[in-house]
């Protein structure tokens, strides 16, 4: 009777605690809201209040502040911070064993945040942009050229990193070739039978087409036509070989990259036959017209439209317990939150963890009929079978029964506010922007690939913590004490946390427009149409183009602030009310 009551109390405790856990996104929400409202200086101040330069989040400190300073036009300061970030990433290559032990006894948030591979690439991307904009502000010819050379240093670092990545993970072409092999096709069939419908090869980040495209632009700025051609061509080929599909970029960007390759061939000279061939193979009528426009222009406008933020990771909680009668370990997701949140959690659980393979369903059916099949839809059950003896030997069963233990893993809810129409108006003429990059997709792909490891690590961690604590307590008392066990489980539940840290000031997507122009003054309007009632966002700029100039306009666009977010900002800005002193109270 008491045992049943304790079991319900501990489950209630898990639910209450799980719903109260703050994610990294919650921690820096004020800074993100300030950024969205176009106040990166205030965002930096708010950010520095919560994230410090010397803690386990120090890499995030340098990366997030690097972007905020960039958005505030403090390019040198941004580069200083991002250089620190890059050095930290190098340091983090060596994994600390002591840190791994610490994580095993607590949770992954106590470890240093080491960054994701695509984030490392974007450190150099932002540094390159900073140098480019410093070069645009330079007054002297030599100073401008030196700053453009510094931007190219970042382009070379990007290239080095991406070459290393390709050597380690294989190229997109390798992945395509592998798909054609008979053995891989048979393996894929079995994967599907086992319920794994995710093609991991298609999600692995192997190279970055957009970074090469930016490198092409930087080389072109410095009039190094051969290097620019190589970079643009590399981007075009990578988009074609699988990058475009991996991040959801359309054919229009592939065409744009080929157009720029052809332009560089034209400028360098000696590529006439290749130009003739590529023009008909890679460009459509519109792009061929655009190529002609370049011949009648003496300047160019390049718009890099950075959209919104990358999505935030949330926390998905499970209760893990054992069923000794069935010799099974069971994971039940805690689908707490409002209808949308619980729906997202269930969708992630089903997509990543649920036993949905044909072989699983057949096994469940043979072990317990239809009832057992239905139960597996809302749980993940692991048949321990012969491993059950080991579970009993290590007393894991006593730690995991009676209410189980709490386990947390990160997940991504689907993006809800997206920009579905982006238009650039130049002197009254409309041009569409094309999607060149999706960091939101890169982040999601990385998390999908990590999901199983995250779960296994979390299971092992919580099992170890609970088994050690329960065993130690019982050995001190000399007997098993159910009440104490529940108390200890409640204690360990408070330390179970998912690592929800990611570089959140990065944009979700990058859209590009390149317009051949005639030198002189031009008025620009950038319009982004966001979904879900976030409305139209319009931004204006006037530019003065010199002959031969390539003007880059990097513009960040955010959906309008919601009423709640606006209220939160007002609250954050309101001066803190001073508590009246004792004397004040007496006088009143």
């Amino acid at each position: 009777m008491y045992r049943l009551m304790y079991r319900h109390v501990i489950l209630l405790f898990f639910v209450v605690f799980a719903s109260g856990c703050a994610t990294y996104g919650n921690d820096i929400q004020t800074a993100l809201t300030y950024t969205q409202s176009g106040q990166p200086d205030k965002a930096a101040q708010a950010f520095e209040k919560v994230i410090k330069a010397d803690g386990s989040d120090r890499l995030l400190y340098y990366m997030e502040l690097g972007v905020l300073k960039h958005l505030n036009g403090q390019y040198q300061e941004s580069n200083r911070l991002l250089e620190q970030a890059e050095r930290l990433v190098e340091e983090f290559y060596t994994q600390s064993i002591s840190e791994a032990l610490l994580v095993a006894m607590s949770n992954p948030t106590v470890a240093d945040y080491k960054g994701q591979v695509f984030e490392d690439v974007y450190i150099n991307y932002y540094k390159a942009l900073n140098y480019l904009f410093l070069a645009e502000q330079a007054t002297g010819r030599i100073e401008r050229s030196d700053l453009l050379d510094s931007a190219l240093v970042e382009a070379r670092r990007l290239d080095n990193k991406l070459t290393k990545l390709k050597n380690e993970r294989g190229s997109y072409q390798d992945a395509e070739d592998k798909k054609e092999q008979t053995f891989t096709q048979i393996l894929s069939l079995f994967e599907k039978l086992l319920g794994n419908y995710i093609d991991e090869d298609a999600l692995i980040f192997r190279e970055n087409a957009y970074s090469h495209y930016l490198s092409g632009l930087l080389y072109e700025q410095q009039k190094e036509w051969d290097d620019a051609r190589i970079a643009y061509q590399k981007a075009a080929e990578l988009y074609e070989q699988g990058y475009a599909k991996q991040v959801g970029v359309g054919d229009d960007m592939i065409g744009q990259a080929w157009l720029d390759t052809i332009r560089m061939m034209d400028k360098a000279g000696g590529w006439d036959s290749s130009i003739r061939k590529l023009k008909w193979e890679k460009l459509d009528d519109d792009l061929r017209d655009k190529l002609r426009d370049y011949r009648n222009s003496d300047a160019e406008l390049v718009v890099l439209n950075h959209l919104d933020f990358v999505p935030q990771k949330k926390e998905l909680d499970f209760v893990m317990y054992v069923e000794p009668a069935r010799k099974e370990m069971v994971l039940t997701p805690l689908l707490i939150g409002n209808a949308q949140e619980s729906g997202d959690k269930y969708a992630w659980f089903w997509m990543m963890y649920a036993d949905k393979g044909i072989l699983d369903v057949v096994e469940r059916y043979s072990n317990g009929g239809l009832d057992n099949v239905v139960r597996t839809i809302i749980n993940k059950r692991v048949v321990l079978g012969p491993a059950w003896d080991l579970v009993e030997d290590l007393n894991i069963d006593s730690a995991l029964r009676d209410g189980g233990v709490r386990v947390s893993v990160p997940y991504y809810p689907p993006a809800r506010t997206i920009s579905n129409k982006n238009t650039l108006t130049v002197d009254g003429f409309d041009y569409s922007l094309v999607k060149a990059e999706s960091l939101a997709r890169l982040a999601l792909n990385e998390q999908i690939l990590r999901a199983r490891t995250d779960l296994y690590e979390a299971l092992a961690r919580e099992t170890l913590k609970n088994t050690l604590l329960v065993e130690s307590a019982n050995s001190v008392l000399g007997e098993e004490n159910a009440l104490l066990n529940y108390g200890l489980k409640a204690l360990t539940a408070t330390t179970a946390r998912a690592d929800t840290r990611t570089w959140l000031t990065l944009p979700a997507e990058v859209h590009v427009a390149r317009i051949p122009m005639v030198s002189g003054e031009h008025t620009l309007t950038l319009t982004n149409q966001f979904t879900k009632g976030a409305g139209w966002v319009t931004q204006h700029k006037t530019i003065q183009l010199e002959p031969g100039q390539i003007q880059v306009w990097r513009q960040r666009s955010f959906p309008k602030l919601s009423h709640t977010a606006h209220q939160e900002l007002l609250k954050a800005e309101a001066p803190a009310k001073e508590k009246p002193s004792i004397f004040g109270k007496l006088l009143n």
């Binding site: 190098e90 290559y93 060596t94 994994q95 600390s96 064993i97 002591s98 032990l101 610490l102 095993a104 006894m105 002297g140 030599i142 050229s145 030196d146 050379d149 510094s150 190219l152 240093v153 070379r156 670092r157 290239d159 080095n160 070459t163 290393k164 050597n167 380690e168 030997d393 290590l394 007393n395 088994t467 050690l468 065993e471 130690s472 019982n474 050995s475």
Partner: protein
């Protein structure tokens, strides 16, 4: 508690204690000779800049151009101006420091003189113009008395990187050339390469 579990717990506690002790390091700073190389990473450093400049200038002066000039202009040393040395590497190299190392190596040899160029020359000219209005006439430096450079030194710093897992080979190549501005003849062309190998272990305490 089972023996296996006790052992695991004991091991974990021991490692945690060792880690705590290892973490009690304090910051220590010591002076080192500027000629001593302290290579913390495989990046281009002050020693690379000094060694490369000394070796390249030594090579440059061993070519016949300096002796030819002295023979044609008895009692005079050739004057050199540093034009642009471009950083085409993957590191943010302080090119000005490298240029200064080159100048020092040449001046130390006593075989050639340097004249100011670029922004430095503009500043000096500005100073002279200022003297025309503000300095006493007997202390003014006259305009139009500059020493023209006969030779122009220019070049680039390039790099190549090959890396896999924790290993990285970085090669730096410095290419310099000296041009006789009177004849446009390239009188010297030198290359210096340095290569560094960095290993990083995947695990550590």
């Amino acid at each position: 508690m089972t023996n296996a579990l006790k052992k695991t717990a004991l091991s974990l506690m021991t490692v945690a204690a060792l880690t705590a002790v290892a973490g009690c390091q304090t910051t220590k700073v010591s002076r080192v000779d500027t000629n001593t190389e302290v290579a913390l990473t495989d990046r281009w450093n002050a020693t690379d800049s000094r060694l490369v400049s000394e070796e390249m200038i030594s090579d440059m002066l061993s070519f016949p151009w300096a002796a030819d000039y002295e023979r044609q202009n008895p009692g005079k040393r050739p004057t050199v101006i540093i034009q642009r040395i471009r950083n085409k590497s993957h590191e943010h190299i302080a090119v000005e420091t490298f240029s200064n190392d080159l100048k020092r190596a040449v001046i130390r040899s006593g075989r050639a003189d340097f004249v100011a160029g670029g922004a430095e020359r503009d500043d000096i000219r500005g100073e002279r113009r200022d003297q025309e209005f503000n300095a006493r006439t007997d202390t003014q430096v006259a305009m139009g008395e500059e020493t023209g450079a006969r030779f122009a030194l220019s070049g680039s710093i390039n790099s190549f990187v090959d890396s896999l897992d924790g290993d990285r080979v970085t090669s730096y190549q410095v290419d310099l050339k000296l041009i006789d501005m009177l004849t446009n003849r390239e009188v010297w062309n030198g290359t210096k390469k340095i290569q560094k190998f960095q290993e990083k272990s995947s695990f550590g305490f």
